[in-house]
């Protein structure tokens, strides 16, 4: 009887304490804002994935890991440049870590796989780079910060025709979504201004030898290759070795051509190349000098395009979370991100109602000192017209 009394008392005391414990936990939780980041830290996109991680962490460090007086817990996972791995990590961040939003990844295939799930669980994703039309047309919870793939490269096509005076072009790109869409944007811009694309070639994803594509190149005013990551290292070398003389203008730099660590490896292979990028360390945007210095102090290297991309996307996340104070319904956060309009190190960032970034394309030429010099820019937006996304040059 005595023993039973003790047990009953213990249970009673615990029952009284439980609401206090529960409220303490939720209070603790409310004091903390959880932000997830899925980045391509290994695999094909690892060089630019690691850069984006550095940029994101620097942004949160600058804010002292605090938003609206609350502590920010940043949970970074490796998507491994692989859609399946990314999906597993997305589930973990949402279901185990209970993040309010996710930054990244860069891999467009991985973003496509995450999108339906994030729509279902109502967790917004803030992209770092460009992405394809389907995400904008079908998925409400994805934010394409740098715009659509073909939207981003449209100004490069316009620039090649208008400013560089090229009338014909031959293209070469990786045979998957990003390669096709990046090239399509350039082609649209080029042809809209009266240029003619006389040849388009596509190489398989695992290509290491570009000999067959170089020997098949048709002579034109400019050569327009899109080479991301590892391909840039083999491609640029082989173009030179095999005697490609046409001036090179890249529709997008693939995270390589304006990246200082990559330039260090490639050396003169990038000299005189004109390319479009979301960011370079030479930009004269508000706050960029301070960002470049802070990045260099922390990591002992100058920031690449995805470093600036990651930093800017983190700035977007922080601005939206500041607005909601890290609480409220998911729809409140969605609206806050949609209404973000801030100046970042890569220029102004805002979104259309389809959550597509109103994007600045910066155009650089790598000079003889291997420094990316800003030579042009274009600002575009993409809006839904019927069942398509239509791109418009606004500046």
């Amino acid at each position: 009887m005595k023993g039973k009394m003790w047990v009953l008392c213990a249970v009673g005391i615990l029952a009284c304490l439980f609401p206090a414990i529960a409220s303490y936990s939720s209070a603790a939780e409310q004091k903390e804002i959880r932000v997830g980041a899925i980045l391509d830290l290994t695999g094909m996109l690892s060089p630019i994935g690691v850069d984006s991680q550095k940029g994101i962490m620097l942004a949160f460090e600058k804010a002292g890991y605090k938003i609206a007086g609350k502590t920010v817990k940043l949970i970074v996972e490796d998507g491994a440049s692989d859609p399946n791995t990314t999906m597993d990590k997305t589930r973990k961040l949402v279901e185990t870590n209970k993040v309010q939003l996710i930054i990244g990844p860069i891999h467009s295939g991985a973003c496509a796989v995450m999108a339906p799930y994030l729509d279902r669980v109502k967790v917004p994703q803030i992209g770092i780079s460009c992405n394809n039309d389907e995400l904008a047309l079908k998925h409400k919870w994805m934010f394409l910060t740098a715009g659509l793939l073909h939207q981003f490269t449209y100004p490069a096509g316009v620039y090649a025709c208008n400013k560089m005076g090229y009338k014909t072009a031959t293209t070469l790109a990786t045979d998957y979504v990003a390669g096709h869409d990046f090239t399509a944007g350039f082609v649209d811009g080029f042809q809209d201004k009266g240029g003619k694309v006389i040849q388009q070639q596509w190489f398989p994803e695992k290509t290491t030898d570009f000999t067959p594509y170089v020997v098949s190149l048709k002579k034109s005013d400019c050569f327009v290759p899109w080479l991301a990551g590892n391909f840039a290292f083999s491609g640029l070398r082989q173009f030179k070795e095999l005697g490609v003389k046409m001036p090179i203008i890249e529709p997008e730099d693939g995270g390589v051509t304006v990246s200082p660590p990559a330039i260090k490896e490639l050396g003169n292979l990038v000299k005189d190349i004109t390319t479009a990028a979301i960011y370079a360390y030479t930009l004269d945007t508000p706050g960029n000098k301070e960002f470049v210095q802070a990045y260099k102090d922390k990591y002992n290297v100058l920031p690449g395009p995805m470093s600036g991309g990651g930093y800017s996307s983190a700035q977007v996340a922080m601005a939206a979370l500041e607005k909601t104070r890290g609480q409220g319904k998911p729809e409140d956060l969605l609206e806050a991100i949609t209404n973000v309009s801030i100046m970042t190190v890569r220029g102004p960032i805002s979104y259309t109602k389809e959550h597509v970034g109103i994007s600045t394309t910066w155009i650089f030429k790598i000079d003889e000192n291997l420094v990316p010099q800003l030579v042009g820019q274009g600002r575009t937006r993409a809006d839904k017209v019927g069942d398509k996304m239509v791109v418009k040059l606004i500046e």
Partner: protein
């Protein structure tokens, strides 16, 4: 005509790199029946380590020697450390070497970082020759000749030396070879290290042909080496050469003239050979 010449030379130089990496896997598979899934990362390790040594010392040839040495050393670690306990356990061999592949890849990520490394070419071979409207690097022509020479040396070793005879005996009938008093263990270890060293050598020597060293080559080169073994046949220099050159030249040829088929060339060759000559073009019938 100049297009054809460049395509053939490009295919041959690519094929020679495939021969060097495929030969090692073919030797180990033929002699010991082991599918070394870590073979591709030996190629990658040779490329990275060789480039690091060459850039540090300023000597290409030192880098080449270092690449071969690191491949052979890694081979010794794999064979003596992991595989000697797993003879006749093929599934376990594949699993263990697969795991080793991931470990080595991540080790390289940790040591060298995620970015690819650009290749080095010795000054004497740094130029290009003019072929019609194109230029073709002298280095890739040197690779073709060097590969041919190495092929002759390996063939001589295989066909005309006592060591080669022992290796062939071990491949054909290991029980009989042991019965005749031949200790196959040092032969197996030696062959494994030779194969691994060849992979490391191929990684560094092939880096200028493939555009540098990157972390993806570990897995990519393993599957390509498997294709070389399937197409050419396992366990012989001639088989590895035939398989490698066929895949190399076909890949470049198809890429130039039938680009839509470029993704499938290697797999199509494998299917055709498996259908009509399952042992490989020059494998035992």
């Amino acid at each position: 005509m100049d297009v054809l010449a460049v395509v053939i030379l490009g295919g041959l130089s690519y094929g020679v790199v495939l021969f060097l990496v495929g030969m090692g896997l073919s030797l180990v598979l033929g002699l010991m029946g082991i599918v070394n899934a870590a073979h591709g990362v030996l190629f990658m390790a040779g490329a990275y380590f060789g480039l690091a040594v060459a850039k540090q010392t300023g000597h290409f040839w030192l880098g080449l020697a270092a690449a071969m040495a690191i491949g052979a050393l890694a081979g010794l670690v794999i064979e003596r450390g992991l595989l000697r306990r797993l003879y006749n356990h093929q599934l376990e061999q594949i699993l263990v070497t697969f795991g080793f592949m991931y470990i080595v890849t991540n080790l390289h990520l940790w040591i060298y970082g995620p970015r690819p490394k650009s290749a080095l070419v010795p000054q004497a071979l740094a130029g290009s020759i003019l072929i019609g409207q194109f230029t073709f690097p002298v280095y890739r022509i040197a690779v073709i000749f060097a590969g041919g020479l190495l092929c002759l040396v390996l063939w001589y070793l295989q066909e005309k030396t006592k060591v080669g005879a022992i290796i062939r005996a071990g491949m054909d009938d290991p029980q009989m070879a042991r019965g005749l008093g031949i200790n196959l263990t040092p032969v197996n270890v030696g062959a494994f290290c030779l194969g691994a060293g060849l992979a490391g050598f191929a990684g560094f020597a092939g880096a200028p042909v493939l555009g540098g060293a990157n972390l993806a080559t570990g897995t990519e080169m393993f599957f390509t080496a498997i294709a070389v073994c399937i197409v050419g046949g396992v366990g012989s220099v001639q088989g590895a050469l035939a398989g490698a050159l066929l895949i190399g030249v076909a890949t470049i040829f198809v890429g130039a003239y039938l680009p839509d088929m470029a993704t499938y060339v290697t797999y199509m060759l494998m299917v055709i050979v498996l259908l009509f000559r399952p042992a490989g073009l020059l494998g035992a019938k």
